[in-house]
Amino acid sequence: MKAKIIITPKKAVVDPQGKTVQGALEQMGYKGVTGVHVGKYIEIDLAPGTDPAAAQRALNDAAHKFLSNPIIEDYKLEME
């Protein structure tokens, strides 16, 4: 079993990386890009037989306390 955590900067936080990438995409001729947000992707391998519900609770806790900083980032957790 795998857990995937996608972390993105909050909309209120200036994201210079996203803006720079957006500018580069425009320069390359890609049309219609209205926003780019650069974040992080974390993949976590879980032992076989792990209880998905318990793992999800634990990982939500870890994502909130450690893997993301709720002041500046949002996260999305997916179990697979």
């Binding site: 936080v13 200036v14 210079p16 990386q17 720079t20 450690f66 893997l67 900083n69 002041i71 500046i72």
Partner: protein, 236 residues
């Protein structure tokens, strides 16, 4: 006074902090990140550097070091804690200071002298800075852009928790003088209780004229004065 200067893997301003404290006539020693106790300490410096390689987020891993539990307890008991640069990032990640530090707005690492306006003399970290004095102090960071949500900023202003702001040589808080895009030109803040502070600039690298400025010593002198006042009050 006894300075405890923390050492994490990849701290690199720990020696500068020790040097500055000793230069100004005080005793200072290192405290390893795996230590559970600070020993005999009057003030704790969380130094600059790239603790744990800045992995995940700056300061995110250092905050879970055993020594940080001791720092938390020390701060809860009213002890003075100053975080410099990466130390500031560690203290915000640990929840000891409000807000967060994000990537500089121009994505560049800035290594230069800047001007700092002390926003209030009312703290153990600013009380000795002469009125109207603008401090010239170096910065060296890639992620020093101060961010806090609107509600936190309102609280910081209301409680006088903003201690230093980036300014022009004449003291004006301009956007050009802001090296990293920090909200309200914030370079450093303190907690509500005013015993924990952090700033991105490096006062420990500006305590002797050989290093082009000794303005940083005013921040250390403020700490000494606050500690003396505290020990005098205790003795009385």
């Amino acid at each position: 006074m006894n300075f405890a200067v923390l050492q994490f893997p990849a701290s690199n301003c720990d020696q500068d902090a020790i040097h500055a404290a000793r230069l100004l006539g005080h005793s200072a020693r290192y405290v390893w990140h795996k230590d559970n106790s600070l020993g005999n300490a009057d003030v704790v410096i969380v130094p600059g550097g790239f603790s744990y390689g800045d992995y995940l987020r700056c300061g995110a891993i250092a905050r879970f070091s055993p020594v940080m539990q001791a720092v938390k307890q020390f701060a809860d008991n009213g002890g003075l804690v100053l975080g410099v640069c990466n130390g500031f990032q560690v203290l915000t990640e640990a929840g000891l200071l409000p807000g967060a530090l994000v990537r500089n707005r121009d994505l560049q690492f800035h290594c230069e002298h800047i001007f700092l306006k002390p926003a209030t003399p009312d703290s153990p970290f600013t009380n000795k800075i002469p009125a109207g004095k603008i401090l010239r102090i170096p910065i060296a960071h890639g992620e020093g852009c101060y961010f806090a949500d609107e509600e936190t900023l309102v609280k910081l202003k209301a409680n006088n928790q903003i201690l230093w702001q980036y300014c022009a040589a004449n003291g004006n808080l301009t956007d050009v003088a802001n090296p990293n895009g920090s909200l309200l030109n914030i370079a450093g803040v303190c907690n509500e209780r005013r015993n924990v502070a952090g700033l991105m600039p490096h006062p420990e690298r500006a305590c002797e004229l050989l290093l082009a400025s000794d303005d940083g010593k005013w921040i250390f002198e403020s700490i000494f004065a606050a500690l003396e006042k505290k020990s005098a009050a205790k003795a009385a």
